[in-house]
Symmetry: none
Subunit: 254 residues, 2 copies
DNA sequence: CAGTGGTCTAGACCACATA
DNA sequence: ATGTGGTCTAGACCACTGA
């Protein structure tokens, strides 16, 4: 086991050296031991410090390059990337989403009931037909203008009493320690039905962005199944995409 | 210059050996010299055939792995991928995206020119007004049905000659070692204009999913700025969302 | 068992950035 | 001129696959 400053690698560990080193470097960056815009120690320096060959040091750096944490400048050094503007592709509810956009979120309740799940809901939430679910339907507003219709279904066991659910579903889930950690969303472009047009105050046939979301606890248990219809003229969805992770190799290039 | 079967590398070329070899292997795959599901010659074999060290052979294979063309099976061999298992929301071009969905991608060129950037393009790509950009416009098809209109702009310096750009822009970028590692996308729901309706074979006012993408190298340099218009009735976009990463002072929920 | 990919080393030379 | 990343080599050992 070798520990130099914040770098520690163990040659006897089953984890490859380059992954151990990558992890150490990741830690130094998130700890602020190396600040954004600053250069890492040079590859030869890291090699000397850790006793790892330069080829392997490069391989560690390559993995962080692919994560966008570092960038190399030939002839100069390897630098901590400027922090990426965090897009709204994070797991946030409507309330938090609107706040980050600088709007004032609000909502008008359409439905708030507890009852047995439909077969589709039971499937999506992986609950038995006997386990009650909470059904929440709202018109969501931003600065008092209707922006979206949102229909959420959540296993009742994960929520406090229906009466205690305020503006934010995620906040209510959090009170019980049931905030989701991960979700899958499906986005689709479509046209407003007459019912939607009325609720959203747009003409029939207006552009609608439909978002379907399933989110999960760390355990993998489904938390919510939500279908939303956003006004296409007032809402856009920003997401970040990345390179798929590699199965074994390396390479950073250019 | 060495030419063995279809593999040819030139040690005196300014192009790194691993990129030359990657290009040769890409050729063998698209030529059908190595069929889908078949194994490539082993790394040691390729090394002996080409006179390139095994480390460098691996580096060539790594670049193709990241493009999803190959997959490695430890103890067994390196195989030409059948279909790519990508849970979408990954940084893939249209070609790879369609293959993942099990459709046959195709395209009809509308425009393919090199020229000076417009002010907006210069801004989006962070290039000077004197640096030429390549403008690529296509109707993208899936199983011969028009699915999207795509207009991409790329700094000319990052691409091989315009003539060498085939179906896949990302593949062409990869040939120069310029595959982006991350991107930002903006999705919006909207209605088809008459020009779009004609190209996509839908009625005017049909649902359109607009996707705007900027993607970047690890260095942070912009690679492409692409605006697409997808048929809303035939395409949905799936993305994964996660919890925001935690800052120093943790907190675990519960 | 022989062959494969996965990892790792200790060198080396190059082009480029910084100064 | 020195230091940096970029490339490349010729070995080596390991864990695993598959006949």
């Amino acid at each position: 086991m070798l520990t130099t400053g914040r770098i520690s690698v163990d040659a006897r560990s089953p984890t490859p050296l380059y992954l151990q080193l990558a992890e150490s470097l990741r830690g130094m960056i998130s700890d602020g031991a190396v600040r954004v815009g600053e250069a890492l120690p040079s590859e030869r320096e890291l090699s000397a410090l850790t006793g790892i060959s330069r080829v392997t040091v490069r391989k560690a750096i390559d993995t962080l390059l692919r994560e966008g944490l570092l960038s190399r400048r030939p002839g100069s050094g390897t630098y901590v990337s400027t922090r990426i503007e965090q897009p709204a592709s994070l797991l946030a509810g409507f309330t938090a989403d609107m706040r980050t956009r600088g709007s004032r979120p609000g909502s008008v309740w359409i439905e708030k009931v507890v009852g047995p799940p439909t077969p589709e809901e039971a499937m999506m939430l992986a609950v038995g037909p006997g386990a009650p679910v909470v059904r929440l339907a709202r018109v969501r507003t931003a600065d008092d203008e209707p922006l979206a219709i949102e229909r959420a279904v959540v296993p009742a066991a994960l929520l406090p009493g229906v009466e205690e659910i305020g503006e934010s579903l995620y906040e209510a889930l959090g009170r019980r320690g049931n905030r989701p950690v991960r979700g899958l969303q499906r986005l689709q472009s479509s046209l407003a039905t007459s019912a939607e047009a009325q609720l959203l105050n747009v003409p029939v046939g207006a552009a609608i962005l439909r978002i379907e979301r399933r989110s999960f606890l760390a355990s993998g248990a489904p938390v919510e199944f939500t279908r939303s219809a956003y006004r296409g003229d007032r809402y856009d969805f920003v997401t970040e995409v990345r390179e798929p992770p590699m199965r074994g190799g390396e390479e950073g290039g250019r």
